[in-house]
């Protein structure tokens, strides 16, 4: 603003001068009237400046047009005539630069007659000559005024840098919007004016273009970010839930989404590498016994009840292990399906392990900066506990309640150090509670074992009812539904701190689920062993059936018998498919139970409470049934265990992952709807980040536990003799050996044989242990160093505190003569003049935001400016050596001259 006003003042002065010398008046008018004509020549000239100071600008901006040949003749003529005038002009320039007003006035009088002579000439010529004259005068003047222009140039450069910084850091200034706008406009104008002129950007047009592109780029980036956000599936849904229920409930949905992503990858792996090749290139259905429904089951094979149990056609489909043939290569691609099956089974676990550990590590990295939280417990609670995102009155009510309780908790924590009342009773109750819960766990484990045993008997019988067939699933689901509330009831006995209580609760539910799962697995293993022991007899039966079929009498010896129809061939029980079917059923029933629980427990309850409240004797919404809360821990644990089952089952039922993807997809939408429609926000909100890693840890544990049985079956159980890709082999992993022997060159086979040597494997394992030990000790020492550093910082803070307090007392004593603007400490410690305080403090805030970069870069900017000056001065050193030199470097000369102009 200020320099604009100044410019306007000089415009008046320029006009006066123009009246005195009429020639320059004409050119001044010209420049004013036809800016469109001139602009091409002076692309780098700022329009605002042209209007403001016509006289000066003529001098400064004249040269770029002077390079054209027809002008040269006129220039030479004019040069001879105006030689004296030029010198006067240069003198005037210097004088004006130094603001010697008396000298300027005298020069103006001298100048007037010489200009008048030129009035007879055509205007065009006058204009050209004047331009040339001024450019040369400019060139000569720079030599005499170089010290001045250099420092001015540096000053302008510095200012330009300052303005740039200002624009960059505008966002972090605590100014009102109107001031921000004004400052921004001013800074931008300033930049537009000088940036081109200083030769920093190559002219205004390029600068403008660059600015335009920068703006476009920023906009594009923002749009792209928006686009990316929109591409994240269910982002809006989750944000919606987050704003209603807080981040803890949202964390479950984020976890669900993450799980969906992982499953999608697993699904792609299994479908792309196993199922699709088999369907496209493998032998079709009905060609061999393992791909055909046996004759006995044929009539019922398409019934819905049979299909629902994954029997019949479902059992003999590519969804299960038994369907795959043990042919080494299939199709014209010679795809090694058994090998691919094995490798996919391994890589499913490998990928899952990798992704879980990676996300755990990234979570850890984010949460390392929580070390300070113990120093400021109350402060953080007071100033950061309110979540400004909350936009729902119920959530707000809960937030108020939780803040109050957390304050109370902190107060209790603070006071609680000495008082411990009735330790013995508490201990007794805790032991009792643990005893009860262990009883519950054992009981549930035994119940499952019993039920699984019974179901094995049922499976041998005919005509079993629906309940008897699904007993295992029903019992497991019921246990999962009723045990957690029971645990919670028992846990009230213990009188733990709620935070610790929650961990205990999670651990117990985890143990329950895990126990159930492993009982189920053990029972399944019994079943598998039984089937394996029967396998030998079945193998003999099959062999003899085929033998008799081909050798029986009554057929003509010359005519070869047609092969036995695959449906009639007796076959083994194929334990792998049986295991796969168990997992499949468990997954489906788990899904259904979850949905029904949500529908009955949440939705119907919500409907009942909502609509029966009009005609009920007490307040249903506030009183007993109320609305359901979203059970985060139960849901997350359910999700984790479901995933464990998927990991275990996917080797025996490749289609399981597909079912799981569908399940996660539907449960995403269904649960989102259920939460929004029929749940109320949680009473206790726990930190999303921390619990997230806790869940990840549980997931890792489950992954490891589900890896064990699969690895056991692969390494130590013989595969079925007549179904699956590994049939006929002694162990499943033999497929690798086979591939190495047959398909790889012999020397590779030898290398693999060497690698498999125990003499190599044991040292390798030892080496790994050593590496683990080493890394562990390194991390321990690092964390110790970290703790020590933290302690040091703490100690420093204490010292600083005491130092400050001493100082503040001292300054309070003699505060009369302390200078307010002296140092930061003083300004804050003096008690009077609060208005000054706020100003200076806001300034310190600005300085902090700009940081030390401002001072260092300011030092840097001086250097290129001075370098630039050397170049630009070159034409000015020898003014009489001809006009060609300045023309050869139009950019440099102009930039040099521009820089010479006094800034405003």
């Amino acid at each position: 603003m200020s320099h604009q006003l100044k410019g306007r003042g000089e415009e008046g002065g320029g006009g006066m001068r123009g009246q005195a010398r009429s020639g320059s008046l004409g050119t001044g008018d010209r420049s004013r009237r036809s800016p469109s004509m001139k602009r091409p020549h002076r692309a780098e000239e700022a329009p605002g400046r042209r209007r403001a100071q016509p006289g000066q600008k003529e001098r400064a901006g004249g040269s770029p047009g002077s390079g054209s040949p027809p002008r040269k003749q006129a220039e030479r003529r004019g040069r001879r005539e105006l030689l004296g005038d030029r010198e006067r002009g240069s003198a005037e320039k210097i004088c004006r630069g130094r603001r010697k007003k008396d000298g300027r006035a005298s020069l103006r009088e001298q100048r007037a007659p010489s200009k008048r002579e030129k009035e007879v000439r055509r205007k065009e010529e006058v204009w050209k000559q004047l331009k040339k004259h001024r450019s040369s005068s400019m060139a000569s003047s720079t030599s005499s005024g170089e010290s001045l222009s250099e420092e001015e140039l540096a000053r302008i450069l510095e200012q330009v840098e300052d303005k740039k910084k200002l624009i960059a850091s505008m966002r972090s200034k605590p100014w009102p919007m109107s001031r921000k706008l004004a400052e921004l406009r001013e800074a931008q104008e300033f930049l537009e004016k000088y940036e081109g002129a200083l030769g920093k950007g190559k002219g205004k047009r390029l600068y403008a273009y660059r600015m335009l592109m920068a703006k476009k780029w920023v906009k594009f980036k923002r749009d792209f970010d928006n686009f990316k956000t929109q591409c994240i599936p269910w982002e809006m849904k989750i944000k919606d839930i987050e704003s209603h229920f807080g981040s803890s409930v949202a964390s479950y949905f984020i976890f669900l989404r993450w799980m969906y992503g992982v499953n999608l990858v697993l699904f792609g792996l299994i479908f792309g590498l196993v199922i699709i090749p088999e369907v496209l290139m493998g032998m079709p259905y009905g060609s061999i016994p393992r791909k055909t429904v046996p004759r006995a089951e044929e009539e019922k094979a398409m019934d819905f009840s049979v299909l629902w149990d994954f029997e019949g056609y479902m059992k003999y489909s590519a969804l299960f292990y038994g369907y795959y043939n043990n042919q080494r290569t299939i199709g014209w691609l010679r795809y090694r399906l058994p090998m691919a099956y094995f490798m996919v089974g391994v890589s499913v676990f490998g990928y899952s392990l990798m992704i879980v550990i990676r996300s755990m590590a990234s979570n850890n990295q984010g949460s390392t900066s929580e070390g300070d939280s113990d120093n400021f417990t109350f402060s953080f609670k007071m100033f950061t506990s309110w979540d400004y995102l909350i936009g729902n009155s119920e959530t707000a009510d809960n937030k108020y309640a939780s803040i109050t309780t957390s304050f109370k908790e902190s107060i209790v924590d603070e006071q609680e150090s000495s008082k411990e009342e009735n330790v013995h009773l508490t201990r007794f109750l805790r032991v009792l509670a643990n005893f009860l819960i262990i009883c519950c766990l054992c009981g549930s484990g035994y119940l499952i074992y019993f039920v699984v045993k019974r179901s094995q008997e049922f499976s041998k019988m005919q005509n079993v009812s629906w309940y008897e067939r699904n007993e295992v699933e029903i019992v497991m689901s019921l246990l999962g539904m009723f045990c957690p509330p029971l645990f919670e009831t028992i846990a009230t006995l213990e009188n733990y701190h709620p935070r610790i209580g929650l961990k205990w609760q999670l651990g117990r539910i985890f143990a329950l689920f895990l126990g159930n799962l492993y009982t189920f697995l053990l029972a399944l293993m019994d079943d598998v062993q039984l089937k394996l022991s029967n396998e030998e007899t079945i193998k003999n039966i099959t062999h003899w059936t085929l033998f008799h079929y081909y050798n029986s009498s009554g057929w003509n010896e010359s005519v070869p018998r047609p092969p036995l129809h695959p449906a009639d061939v007796p076959r083994g029980s194929c334990w792998e498919t049986a295991v796969g079917i168990e997992f499949m059923r468990l997954t489906v029933s788990d899904m259904l139970v979850t949905y029904i629980t949500i529908l009955l427990g949440d939705f119907l309850r919500a409907c009942f409470v909502r609509f029966m409240n009009y005609c009920w004797c007490w307040d249903l919404e506030a009183g007993f049934p109320s609305y359901a809360e979203f059970d985060i821990s139960g849901n997350v644990l359910g999700l984790i265990f479901n995933q464990g089952m998927i990991w275990m089952g996917s080797f025996y039922a490749p289609g399981l992952v597909g079912i799981n993807v569908l399940r996660l997809l539907t449960s995403m939408y269904f649960q989102c709807w259920a939460v929004m429609s029929s749940n109320v926000p949680h009473e206790r909100v726990f930190k999303a980040s921390r619990s997230n890693n806790f869940y990840m840890g549980l997931l890792l544990l489950v992954l490891f536990l589900s890896l064990l049985p699969v690895a056991y079956t692969i390494m130590s159980l013989p595969p079925s003799f007549d179904c699956g890709p590994f049939s006929g082999k002694n162990r499943m992993y033999d497929v690798i050996q086979e591939t190495v022997e047959n398909d790889f060159p012999t020397f590779l086979g030898k290398i693999f044989a060497f690698l498999a040597n125990p003499g190599l494997i044991i040292p390798a394992i030892l080496l790994m242990f050593l590496a683990i030990y080493y890394l562990n000790s390194v991390s321990k020492s690092l964390s110790r160093a970290n703790a020590q550093l933290r302690k040091k910082i703490q100690a420093l803070r204490e010292v600083e505190k005491s130092h400050k307090s001493v100082k503040s007392r001292a300054t309070a004593r003699d505060s009369e003569d302390t200078d307010k603007s002296n140092s930061k400490n003083d300004t804050q410690l003096t008690k009077e003049g609060t208005a000054h305080h706020s100003a200076s403090q806001s300034q310190t805030l600005d300085q902090k935001a700009q940081g030390s970069g401002a001072s260092s870069s300011a030092g840097k900017t001086v250097l290129p400016a001075s370098q630039h000056l050397h170049v630009s001065r070159a034409p000015g050193v020898r003014p009489d050596s001809g006009q060609a030199q300045p023309q050869a470097h139009p950019w440099r000369s102009t930039s040099g001259k521009r820089a010479w102009r006094p800034p405003h």
């Binding site: 009102p176 009155s393 304050f407």
Partner: protein
């Protein structure tokens, strides 16, 4: 903010009635301090409360919001106001005074019995949740 909503529904406006500091926010950002905002003030508010705003700026305005009597210091009275608003007055006076005492003990760097802007910034910039909670999403 992906959604480009230009007209607020009544429910959405209602939804922001729950913030205990809503009056303070309006007062801090309004020009004359009485809570009536011009368009510029409104823009100011959202530029500060947006997710993109830098930490220091947020800390500065948070300080102003919690400084109830506008004396550029958060004194014990301000802290009491804050606690009362946060808990809807459900704590007893002893508890409130204990909390204020604790906060001053923790965050007051120069032991003058009140929090200056520097003390406040020093404290708030270490808070893990400050940036994630101190913003408004439309």
């Amino acid at each position: 903010m992906g959604n480009k909503q230009t007209v607020f529904t009544h429910e959405q406006l209602e939804a922001y009635q729950d913030n205990p500091f809503r009056q303070r926010i309006a007062q801090v950002f309004s020009e004359d301090g009485d809570g009536h905002m011009t368009l510029d003030n409104f823009l100011d508010m959202f530029s500060v409360m947006s997710e993109m705003a830098p930490r220091d700026l947020k800390a500065y305005y948070a300080f102003k919001i919690y400084d109830f009597n506008n004396d550029d210091y958060i004194c014990a009275w301000d802290l009491e106001q804050t606690v009362t608003k946060l808990t809807r007055g459900e704590l007893s006076t002893e508890e409130v005074s204990l909390i204020c005492e604790k906060v001053l003990d923790e965050a007051d760097g120069d032991h003058d019995g009140r929090l200056s802007l520097e003390d406040f910034q020093n404290m708030i910039l270490r808070a893990p949740d400050f940036l994630s909670t101190f913003h408004i999403r439309i």
